[in-house]
C-alpha cells in the first residue's frame, strides 16, 4: 500500500554548503558529551562520578522521574567531567575516549521471536529508548504507554540536510531489523515516508512491514510532525512515536550484535564549511575535531565574521560554539558566518544580493537557482505581530499558526488544545520564525507552550 501526499506550502532556503556524497574524515572522538539538555524537561539523576571507567553502553545518568530510562556512554573511556550550570544543573557528562572499542554486551533476544516486554527492557537498558520521541510534545516516551502508531521519515528536508540514502548506505538490513523490533511495540502501523523525487532509488522503499507514503513538496515536508498531520493526525489523548532512521538502525544493530553502537555519518555543511561532506563519528563529538573544515572569518560590511557552530540544521539546531558538542539527535553540523555587523540603510536598498527573502519586496525571486552565503543577522528589529498571511505560506498544516501562538502567549491551555498544540513541536513551525517580518521567536513560544501543557496536564 502506498499513498502520495503533495504539499504546496513550504520553503527550501537556498543556502550554500550542501554536503557532497563523500566521507571526508572518520572522527574518533577524544572527549565527547552526553547532554541532558538535549531532552525536553529532563531532570537527570547521575549514575557515575568523575574518574569512573565506562564502556560503550554504560549508563551515565537516568531520568529522575522514571529511573528505568537510562542515558549511556557511546564509547569506552573515563568520565572526565560533569559540567554544571546555574543552580548546579547538569549540562553535560563528558567522557574521555580510551581509544579502545569496549562494549557492554546486552543479552538480546532473537529479533524474530522477541517479546514486547523484553524489547522494552533492552531498549531501556541499552540507552536507545530516549532516541524515540513521543508525540504530543516530542518527549521521551513513557514505557507504560503503547503508541497508536509509529512514524519514520526516510528523508530530511531541512536546509542543507544530509542525504539519508548516503548517510545510511549499507544499513538497510539494520533498519529493517529495527523496524521489526518497533513493530512489536505497537498494535498499530509503522508509517514510512519517502520523498517522491527519490522514492524509487532509495534503498528504503524495499523495507517490509511498513506502510509507505510518498511526499512531495518543500521543507518542512520531511518533518515527521507534518507527515503525521497528513497521514493520521494526532487527536487529544492519542500517543504516537516518531524515530529517526539513524536510531532505527542503531536499534537494529543492538538486536543483532547486542551492543550500543551509535556510530553514524554526520554531514558537515554550511557556507563556512570547507568542502562540505560527511564525517563518520558518534553523537556527542566535540566541534574542536572538525576545526580543519571551518573556513577563515568572512569579510562582510567591514567586519570579520567568524563561524557559528550549529549542531543540527540552521532552523532548529543549537549554537554550541567552537568547543561545543554534537547533540544526541543531530545528524548535521551547520557552519554559518556570525552576522554581527551594521549594514547601512539595508532595509531601504532596492537590491541586497547577499540576502535572501521570500518576500517580493526584494529580488531574490529573480535568481531561483542562486545559493546564498546567509549569515545570522536578524535583519531587523523585533516588533509586535503586524503582517498577516506570512506564516501560512510556509506552514503546511490545517492549523492557524498566529492564533496558536497568541493562545500560547496568553497561556490559555484550553485554547491551545483547541487550536492544535498536540500536533506541533518547535521544528514544525521553524520556518514561520524564518519568514517573520516582526522577528518573533516562534520556536521559543512553541517550546514554552509545550512545557506549560506538560506541567498543567500531568
Amino acid at each position: 500500500m502506498s499513498n502520495h501526499i503533495r504539499l504546496s506550502k513550504g520553503l527550501n532556503i537556498p543556502v550554500k554548503g550542501t554536503a557532497s556524497a563523500r566521507i571526508i574524515k572518520t572522527v574518533l572522538p577524544d572527549i565527547l558529551a552526553v547532554k541532558p539538555t538535549d531532552f525536553r524537561l529532563l531532570t537527570p539523576k547521575l549514575l557515575v562520578q568523575q574518574g569512573d571507567t565506562v564502556k560503550a553502553g554504560s549508563p551515565l545518568f537516568a531520568d529522575k522521574k522514571n529511573p528505568s530510562i537510562l542515558f549511556v556512554s557511546p564509547v569506552s573511556g573515563t568520565v572526565s567531567e560533569i559540567v554544571r550550570g546555574e543552580k548546579r544543573k547538569i549540562l553535560a557528562v563528558l567522557v574521555k575516549h580510551n581509544g579502545k572499542n569496549e562494549y557492554i554486551n546486552f543479552n538480546v533476544p532473537n529479533p524474530r521471536n522477541a517479546e514486547k516486554a523484553d524489547i522494552i527492557r533492552i531498549l531501556l537498558e541499552s540507552g536507545l529508548w530516549p532516541s524515540i520521541k513521543q508525540r504530543p510534545y516530542g518527549i521521551i516516551p513513557d514505557p507504560e504507554k503503547e503508541p497508536r502508531s509509529i512514524f519514520i521519515s526516510a528523508f530530511d528536508s531541512a536546509p542543507l540536510a544530509p542525504d539519508l540514502d548516503f548517510a545510511l548506505r549499507g544499513e538497510t538490513d539494520a533498519v529493517q531489523t529495527g523496524i521489526d523490533i518497533l513493530k512489536k511495540l505497537t498494535k498499530g502501523d509503522i508509517h514510512l515516508s519517502m520523498h517522491i523525487d527519490n522514492h524509487a532509488s532509495t534503498p528504503f522503499h524495499k523495507l517490509q512491514r511498513v506502510i509507505s507514503h510518498t511526499f512531495e513538496g518543500k521543507h518542512p515536508v520531511g518533518n515527521p510532525g507534518i507527515q503525521i498531520h497528513h497521514i493520521d493526525p494526532i487527536n487529544k489523548g492519542d500517543i504516537v512515536w516518531t524515530i529517526d532512521l539513524h536510531s532505527v538502525a542503531a536499534i537494529g544493530r543492538l538486536f543483532t550484535k547486542g551492543v550500543y553502537d551509535v556510530k553514524r555519518m554526520i554531514a558537515v555543511t554550511g557556507p563556512m564549511a570547507i568542502n562540505p561532506g560527511y564525517i563518520e563519528t558518534y553523537p556527542g563529538m566535540c566541534m574542536q575535531q572538525i576545526k580543519e573544515f571551518v573556513a577563515q572569518p568572512l569579510r562582510r560590511y567591514g567586519e570579520d565574521l567568524p563561524a557559528r557552530y550549529i549542531s543540527g540544521n540552521l532552523l532548529t539546531g543549537s549554537n554550541v560554539g567552537e568547543n561545543g558538542y554534537l547533540g544526541f539527535f543531530d545528524h548535521q553540523i551547520t557552519l554559518l558566518p556570525e552576522g554581527k555587523y551594521r549594514e547601512m540603510i539595508g532595509w531601504a536598498k532596492p537590491f541586497r544580493f547577499k540576502k535572501f527573502s521570500v518576500s517580493r519586496s526584494y529580488f531574490s525571486w529573480l535568481f531561483p537557482r542562486k545559493e546564498y552565503i546567509l549569515d545570522t543577522n536578524l535583519n531587523g528589529g523585533e516588533r509586535a505581530f503586524v503582517m498577516t498571511g506570512v506564516y501560512e505560506k510556509v506552514f503546511p498544516m490545517d492549523i492557524y499558526p498566529m492564533y496558536l501562538l497568541k493562545a500560547i502567549l496568553a497561556k490559555d491551555i484550553d485554547r491551545m488544545e483547541e487550536l492544535g498544540i498536540y500536533e506541533v513541536i518547535e521544528e514544525d513551525m521553524a520556518l514561520c520564525e524564518f519568514v517573520c517580518p516582526s522577528k518573533t521567536e516562534v520556536q521559543q513560544i512553541v517550546s514554552d507552550g509545550i512545557e506549560l501543557m506538560i506541567k498543567e496536564m500531568s
Partner: protein, 389 residues
C-alpha cells in the same frame, strides 16, 4: 559611512542604561536602526532570518502611495487653476500643489512621530514603523483646505486614542488614518464636507470663476446632478481628498502592493467585488428615467472610481493589523466593506461617502469574522477526535 558608524558606536553608551541620555534611548534607537540595520544576531531558534523586516514592508507601502500622492499634488494645483479660470504649465501646477500639500505632510509627521517617540520612550519599546505609513495616509484622505490645527488634532487623536491606548502598532482595532478622518468628520464636519473644502482657495472665494462648483462627483451624484465622465474620474482630474481622486494612480500602487505581497490581494479584489456587486444590484432596481436624479442610477463602474472607494480598498482595508487575519476571513471582510461602502453612500441622506465608515465598521467586526473561521477549524479538530474514538 564608516565615520557615521564609528560615531554611533561611540555615542551609543550614553543612551544605554545608566548613561546620561538614557531618557532618549528609544529616540536614539529609532535613528540608529534607521541608518543601520542593527548588528543583532539570532540567538535562540532559527539561526538565519529572512531579509524582510517591518521597515522594509512599510517603505514598500510608502512607495506604493507615491503615485497617488504626486498626482494629488498636481491635481491640487490643477483644480485651483480651474477654479480661477487659469491655465498653467505642468510644473507650475505641480509645484503649486506641492507647496500646499507639504505643510500637511509635515504637520502629520511631526505630530504623529512626536507622540510615537514619546510613547515608545515611556514604554521602553523601540519606535515602531507603523506611523511612517499613517503619517502619509492621513493628509492624503483630507481635503486640501483642512486647517493645520485640525489636522494636528486629528493626528494626535488617531495616534493616542486609536493606537497607543491599545498598546501601539499591532494592537489597534481601527485603522489610525481613518480614525483621524473620522475625528474631523464628527468634530469639524464643516471642514470636511460641502462643496468648498476640496479645492484650494475656494472657501475664501477670491477670484473664483462665476458659477464654478467645487462639488465632488459623489456630492453631485447625491444631488442628482451630472457627474464627470468615467475617464475623468478614473484619471482623477476631479475634486476630492488629496490622494483619492486618481484611480489610475491608486491602481499603480495596488500593483506594487499585490506584486510584493505586502497587501492582501484577496482584500483588494473582494472589496471591489463587493462594491460592484451591490451597485449592480442597485442599478437593477434603479428608477432610471422615471427619476433621473436618484443616486441608484449611478452606474456600478462609476462607483468604483468615485470618492474614496479605490483608495480605501487598496490602502485602508488592507491594513493587516485592523483587517481580518485569516485568509478565508479576508474574502468576507473585503466583500462586506465593498457592500457597506455602497450601501452607506446610496442610502445615507446626510453624507455622500461611505468608504471610511464601512472600513471602520468592518475593522470592528474583523475579529468576529476571524472568530468564526477559527471556530470552524476547532470544530473540525474536535470532530476528528470524536469520530476516531
Amino acid at each position: 559611512m564608516k565615520v557615521l558608524k564609528n560615531l554611533i558606536v561611540k555615542v551609543k553608551p550614553r543612551f544605554e542604561k545608566g548613561g546620561s541620555l538614557y531618557f532618549l534611548h528609544s529616540t536614539f534607537d529609532a535613528f540608529e536602526t534607521f541608518l543601520f540595520v542593527p548588528d543583532h544576531t539570532a540567538n535562540k531558534g532559527v539561526h538565519v532570518r529572512d531579509a524582510i523586516d517591518l521597515k522594509r514592508s512599510m517603505s514598500i507601502v510608502i512607495l506604493a502611495l507615491l503615485p497617488a500622492m504626486l498626482f494629488g499634488m498636481w491635481n491640487t494645483g490643477y483644480q485651483h487653476n480651474l477654479s480661477i479660470g487659469l491655465t498653467a504649465p505642468f510644473w507650475a501646477t505641480f509645484w503649486f500643489g506641492f507647496f500646499k500639500v507639504l505643510p500637511l505632510l509635515v504637520v502629520s509627521y511631526v505630530v504623529g512621530l512626536g507622540i510615537e517617540f514619546i510613547s515608545a520612550q515611556i514604554r521602553g519599546h523601540e519606535v515602531n514603523e507603523g506611523f511612517l505609513v499613517s503619517g502619509i495616509l492621513i493628509p492624503l484622505i483630507m481635503p486640501i483646505d483642512v486647517p493645520l490645527w485640525i489636522l494636528a488634532l486629528a493626528v494626535a487623536f488617531a495616534v493616542i486614542v486609536g493606537k497607543e491606548v491599545f498598546g501601539g502598532t499591532g494592537m489597534n482595532i481601527w485603522n489610525p488614518a481613518l480614525l483621524a478622518r473620522a475625528f474631523v468628520f464628527f468634530a469639524y464636519p464643516s471642514h470636511i464636507s460641502g462643496d468648498k473644502v476640496w479645492i484650494e482657495g475656494l472657501s475664501s472665494g477670491e477670484g473664483i470663476v462665476d458659477g464654478f462648483s467645487g462639488a465632488t462627483p459623489l456630492a453631485a451624484a447625491a444631488e442628482g446632478s451630472a457627474t464627470p465622465s468615467f475617464l475623468d474620474m478614473f484619471f482623477g482630474t476631479i475634486p476630492g481628498s488629496i490622494g483619492e481622486t486618481s484611480t489610475l494612480a491608486i491602481l499603480l500602487g495596488a500593483a506594487v502592493l499585490i506584486y510584493t505581497g505586502i497587501a492582501s490581494c484577496k482584500i483588494i479584489v473582494s472589496t471591489f467585488a463587493g462594491g460592484f456587486f451591490l451597485s449592480l444590484l442597485l442599478n437593477a432596481i434603479a428608477p432610471g428615467a422615471a427619476d433621473p436624479s436618484s443616486f441608484l442610477n449611478v452606474p456600478a463602474w462609476n462607483h468604483m472610481v468615485m470618492g474614496g472607494f479605490a483608495f480605501g480598498a487598496v490602502f485602508m482595508a488592507t491594513d493587516p493589523v485592523t483587517g481580518c487575519q485569516t485568509e478565508r476571513g479576508k474574502w468576507i471582510y473585503g466583500f462586506l466593506i465593498g457592500v457597506m461602502a455602497i450601501l452607506i453612500r446610496v442610502f445615507n441622506p446626510g453624507y455622500p461617502e461611505g468608504m471610511m465608515l464601512a472600513i471602520l465598521l468592518l475593522n470592528t467586526f474583523a475579529p468576529l469574522i476571524d472568530h468564526y473561521i477559527v471556530q470552524a477549524n476547532i470544530k473540525k479538530r474536535l470532530n476528528r477526535a470524536k469520530t476516531n474514538k
